[in-house]
Symmetry: D2
Subunit: 375 residues, 4 copies
């Protein structure tokens, strides 16, 4: 007889681990399966920005869920530290979204008005105010949107903290186990066939990021999603160049501990290659030097990339599969995977326990889109 | 319309790349697909031993094919250097298989008799002859079998040399492309469905090492094979400790350039984890120090592991699929993947071109085994 | 004219950086010179144990200063976080010093009595109490000394936190600058000659660890000290194997975040080589597996070594040079460099400012020893 | 009594190791001392270009010695392979020096005329000829100088091959031993004081690259030389982009095996910092993309730097010290360290054996320059 679980989670990235954590807290028997190592793909590659207001600028379900998830971090950091001993390095020193020209300035000002109307904190900084706040930024800026509530975490540590907390609460986590296929019985998923044998589960969650599509396509299900590579690099400086995170149309710069700056990210669609290209680095360096000239004297540390799951309409998939009620999909988080991980874990736990979930989840249903994703 | 090829090869390890090379030489339009990077798994992890006589000690098809493949290396090194510019670092300074006790000595002597009867070079060295040849070996040895024809190559370089030669001869090689499933039409394979779209092929070759099973199981085919992890480590010494490769029942030591020694390998069945365990290293260090005490003063360099494909009866699978005539399987090479790669490439090219192949391939047929592999 | 400083510090390890921090806090113009990178040698190699009671077991100045320094950490962590943003990862979950046989048990019990007499917390745990506290330890133990106040930090982070705090308080830190010689004028040090030119200083501090001897010998001063290499390795486990730090006569095991264990350290005298030997690793693995059998299943992560400065009598050198009053020496901390760094920084700052210092510093005078250090 | 040697060599870079080799061949008792690891600094950082005609473009001693040294490589590769088993990966597929504008074209044409007059092979390629030879180069080029005899080696392997050959011929090589000072007796050097004790030598050779100055200044000798950092990076491509080495005023591109290209190098004076700056990488990427646009799609592999010894007049120092007849200096090779290593070893061996040396060595005397080096 096969070993049996309440929930089998496919994918050991930040969302899979968050789901494992929120389910383990409820006493569920959880098995998490990861093909390689935990946090081995996009979850480690991310800069860890919690850019609820900077990344998402239209009213709607994504904005709502992003703010809700961001609000979970301050208490989550203590919770995870308690369960796992791991500090997720939450920093909430605010974010500046820079206007490099008049058009961007106009756009930011209208975004501020929109955010304020929704009750969010956001305000306009004139060039001299930006200069006072961040003395190393280029003096060619036209101003900035100041978002005091956005911040960042250490994404690999967050993922490990979720996983270790889940394990300490009784979950099983298996690395280097590949799921070959879902085991179906009519419209019910019974378990998974893996490189390590067969496991039975009452529920199965697919949270495999850009690789979720493969798992589903094997079972004849389509998932209108595609991978988008993001290339990044980090630098070390003698003195801190920035205190806030800085965001522009062409790059972002996230100040981390020990005078490290993470600079990202390109967007290259439809590739699973993790290669970092010379052209990608060149473009990021140029963009970063335009806003922060002193970055040219910084010490280059390393470069890397992550493969993020994007969907046709830019919204994640978060909910039960329309045809298989005990199959839950949680993917398509694109650039917001770290930010959205707490709420993703919490909501999936609710779905699986049959508890009521917010109405905005309608927008993240898998069958909302009829046509295929474009690249 | 999908892009169409004569042959699509799944797997960018040493055997997939060798097959690509031998087919590209014949003018075939070849596409090789690799899920991660070329030579990223067992083909880089190997020590590169060409142990035709030391690894294979029973008469039969495996012994025949091993010797045939070993004989290809001397000319292959020039061929690949010519096509790719890469030196595969072939060394044929012989191998010593050590007897640590009387029983092993008896066993080796009978193995020598057997090999000589088959016309192979192999002879017994008494302890003092071993000491004269390799002054650093333990003086507790009971003698050794001397195999002058066995040697070693650089396995990652061999893989890249095959791949680059194939590319220079017109093949296409795509890294970071995952094959989701084979496209079947009755008993004919029409192509592959991948993370990069669909490709049509007149023939498909599965040469994905320990991962071959997954590719086939998705199509409902079983492959009685299982993964066996081998852990290794390397050391650097001030002066060379060995000139021959040394082989015992519990470890091997392969002298490489720049005073590097590679020491391997454990055998841990039924795991895809590439983790190197403390226990594995400890066991190898103990075994190595028993035959070569000076290794304790050597500088530890690094450790790694490879996941090798083993079969139920220890013989590789090499031939057309019994039910799908245009599908070729080449896997299950276990510890002999590097050694067997030239002959594997050459024979698969012959099969696909419809040329006659040796009768011994009967022993490597996929349907020779009725029961499942054990672990 | 050369640039001039109140204090020039030679050495960018944990003690040089601590000294820079405590002087910068007092408003001194500080220049710290490091030949390579900050925290590049023993300060990064350390496991970061704060073993005041476990490492030092005789009454005397070293025990006094060790306890005094340990007591500084709880507030220091906040101070450094405030100034630098860096979390030094202080953990004070106690330490167990294990008795592997009756003799060790007797020895530990008398050590406990001695510590309690001095008012320190330490108590004996019988084997079953040890097992209750740390379920994974070998059941062949004879008991343990429980030291609730000892703990550990992240030593590289501590060093960077001192350096970055010093910089934020106005100090200058130059990496990749080598001091060629001290500039003397009779019995007064006037500055330093470096690969980056000449710098004038009213005081010079030599805190260059095992490399301090070179700096002084160039000026004709002898320093009875010698290097001792310590080799270490780290492992990762699925679940935490230990919660306390564990210490035996032959190894220590320090549990770090993310299920990492650091295991150290060998003691190899009179070498500056940072090579890790197979023999050293083997010995540590054997010792670790004897007390914690489950470590054999742990994943080996990496190995490294540090070169620690030891003195003839095992006590550090901490004080003004007997012949050059404005030259301060702070080295010879051996295995206690991390533990002693706060008090070292604080006391050197006092000396340089002419403030009164504790009488126990007499024991750390440079001219206490007449003969040369043995190896 | 101290151990005594015929020759003590300070510096384990390519020139120190070459000197050790040529002396060991003559039966001298040689001790080579290296502060860190062999080939740890500029000798590993180099791209290994043998640019006798491309780097040196004025008649004179440097041109003569460069051509003489280049001519030694073809036989040296076999010699070193024989002694050490190491292949130095000599490639002599020629070099192209590109003209990016009319002025550079005129300059190159006159350089060709000058080289041909001296009997060297060099010829002008019109833009279409360049395009035919190297199809990936920018079509905005104005032509190129074709130098068929220049090529490249693997510089780390060359250094190790020299060292291992020397050891196999009886030399002693000690890593991690730092020379504190030379031991002088009037105008005679008697040996060296090191971190590993005192060694007596009849001759001492300083071949410590950019660190030579320190060794000499400690003994009150000045050396008009300064360090120049060179930053580089490497890329990997799917197919080879170049077959010849390509050289411009702002960068060079050296094709290595396995589709690797090395791109270098910046020139940053008066620093020993090995940090690679964002600005340096950006400048190299821009320069490389201007001549080879396809490099933008290449995969970035890694970046590094080397600290090269430059002199006031750009010529190396190669000869006996004017005041200490048994002290030989061999440094200041700047960008030609790899190229000049064979002749450097050979000539130093001659000097030490009292054999006649070429007259051009007058130009490399240490006392040729009266003023100090500029930076």
């Amino acid at each position: 007889m096969n070993k049996s679980y309440d929930v089998i989670i496919i994918g050991g990235g930040v969302n899979g681990c968050s789901i494992a954590y929120y389910l383990a807290r409820e006493g569920k028997r959880v098995l998490l399966l990861e093909r390689e190592k935990l946090a081995g793909k996009a979850s480690s590659a991310a800069a860890g920005m919690l850019g609820a207001q900077v990344e998402v600028t239209e009213e709607g379900a994504l904005f709502t869920i992003a703010k809700e998830s961001r609000a979970m971090f301050p208490s989550l950091q203590y919770e995870l530290k308690e369960h796992s001993g791991i500090d997720i390095e939450l920093v909430q020193k605010g974010m500046l979204k820079l206007a490099m020209n008049d058009e961007e300035a106009r756009h930011l000002k209208s975004s501020i008005a929109f955010q304020q109307k929704l009750g969010e904190r956001a305000e306009w900084l004139a060039p001299e105010q930006v200069a006072e706040r961040e003395g190393q930024l280029s003096d060619a800026l036209m101003g900035a949107m100041d978002i005091p509530m956005d911040g960042h975490v250490n994404p690999a540590r967050l993922t490990h903290a979720f996983a270790k907390s889940a394990v300490n609460l009784g979950a099983e986590v298996k690395e280097y186990v590949e799921v070959y296929s879902l085991i179906m019985d009519g419209s019910v998923v019974k378990g998974v066939e893996t490189s390590n044998g067969t496991f039975d589960g009452e529920h199965v969650v697919v949270a495999a990021g850009a690789w979720s599509k493969r798992v589903l396509e094997e079972c004849g299900m389509t998932l209108p999603a595609y991978p988008v590579k993001g290339e990044c690099f980090s630098v070390i400086t003698d003195r801190p160049l920035l205190s806030s995170t800085v965001f522009t149309e062409t790059c972002y710069l996230v100040p981390k501990s020990e005078n490290r700056l993470i600079i990202g990210a390109t967007m290259i669609s439809n590739t699973f290659s993790e290669n970092v290209t010379v052209g990608g680095l060149f473009q990021l360096m140029e963009a970063a030097a335009r806003v922060l000239p002193a970055v040219k004297s910084a010490t280059f540390e390393r470069s890397w990339s992550g493969i993020r799951p994007q969907t046709g309409d830019g919204l994640p998939y978060l909910g039960q599969h329309p045809n298989y009620k005990n199959l839950v999909i949680a993917t398509g988080h694109y650039r917001n995977g770290i930010l959205l991980s707490p709420i993703t874990g919490k909501l999936v736990a609710k779905m699986i326990q049959g508890e009521p979930v917010p109405g905005y989840l309608e927008d993240f249903r898998l069958d909302r889109v009829k046509e295929h994703a474009k690249g």
